[in-house]
Point group: C2
Chain length 244, copies 2
């Protein structure tokens, strides 16, 4: 049957891809995706056709992939991080009904919450939330409500899309909401360009995170009430320490 | 410098490991971990020494790994899924101060929230929470508070450790809390033995999940108010459909 893989590439360097992801790319006759992501893998496959659409043309991109797969080619739609976490998997399923049957297989990958956490130490070792601060597709009120709930119940939080040129003050607004319930000294961190050239990270307080100048290449992490700095790392205890 | 890798293996089959994880295992002179996890990788390395401790002896296990690394061996502590999500990364950092300096490197992996989601479709395509229902290390009141917050703010939820022999009714109790705010027809799913022999999955309503007989090999998924069944899959829209 016609086959469409939706592949999570991980943070961007080939070493953090899974063997399953690599096998899907090997098998694919056509690679498809946003240019920034196809550029990460195209060099591994010289001569393999690559279909791209510009930023924000996700619907066209998914239709293109489905159309080619329905036409008989094995297609790999590539996503950064995981294929399902703010990735293209949902849209592929939503659009699949417009085309003849295609066998869709989701290939998971290491999302930024995990790859970024590994750089900082162990910030997500207890219950956590993943929240995107982008209001392109979600009303800010909904984002604010989730930030408030996450703070009230003392979750660790991974913040995706913490800022962009057009949303320069969103991280500050998010931190203000978190500060209604979380202490200003709550241990936080961020990582820029996870696993890629120019990787950079910092551990800082929630009050300091509020002032940090992050961009769309960053993922931010907010600890829970137990998260500590330990030898330069951000560490959220799992609870074993009660047995020490 | 003495080196200790804390390695997330992914769901358990070698194909879902990253290249980085495999390289750490290759380099390690000693493998360390809970037997169930070391058994997954030991066959790849015949003759490589394996150090294990029984279930719940996590502190001994981490001390053993740190001691061997401090003594000059390159050690890989293996964890299922990701090294930081309910894994050993935090405990390694907490105990490291007891030993001479060791270079600790966390190697992230595909946690069950991601690998299970890929089996079901795209259930976590919008903001989500990861919550463990195990009260071995966390008071039930804290778990209940987080479930309540996650339901109130309409997060998608991945439930780890949804049940065990001693906690047979925990999933039911959790669903009862979620049902205070989420509709009984909320689309849910679960996966048993993700990526391993005997993998099994089901999509069902929240009311049905409440009655499901899950075990410690399962991960459960609860949708948000927009999550739908689409051609037999569990799909949470990201918001692009507003543009369709």
């Amino acid at each position: 049957m016609n086959k469409l893989y939706v592949v999570g590439l991980g943070p961007g360097n080939p070493a953090q891809m899974t063997y399953q992801a690599r096998a899907a790319l090997d098998e694919a006759e056509v690679l498809c995706g946003y240019t920034v992501y196809t550029d990460l893998v195209a060099p591994l496959y010289p001569g393999k056709p690559v279909l791209t659409t510009p930023m924000r043309r996700e619907i066209d991109r998914c239709r293109m992939a489905l159309e080619r797969a329905a036409g008989g080619e094995t297609v790999a739609m590539v996503c950064s991080g995981d294929a399902g976490v703010y990735g293209m998997a949902c849209l592929i399923y939503q659009l699949a009904g417009e085309f003849p049957p295609v066998d869709i297989e989701i290939v998971p990958g290491v999302t930024a919450a995990l790859s970024g956490a590994a750089v900082l130490g162990a910030p997500l070792s207890h219950d956590f939330c993943v929240i995107s601060l982008s209001d392109l597709l979600t009303p800010w009120e909904q984002i604010a409500r989730r930030l408030r709930a996450a703070a009230e119940a003392d979750f660790c939080i991974a913040l995706y899309n913490p800022a962009s040129r057009k949303r320069a003050d969103y991280l500050r607004r998010a931190c203000d909401i978190l500060l209604e319930k979380k202490a200003p000294e709550t241990v936080c961190g961020y990582v820029r360009n996870i696993g890629r050239e120019g990787q950079q990270s910092q551990i800082l307080s929630l009050a300091e995170l509020r002032e940090a100048q992050l961009d769309m290449f960053c993922t931010a992490f907010v600890g829970n009430g137990q998260t500590a700095r330990l030898a330069g790392r951000m560490v959220t205890p799992r609870g074993y320490e009660a047995k020490l």
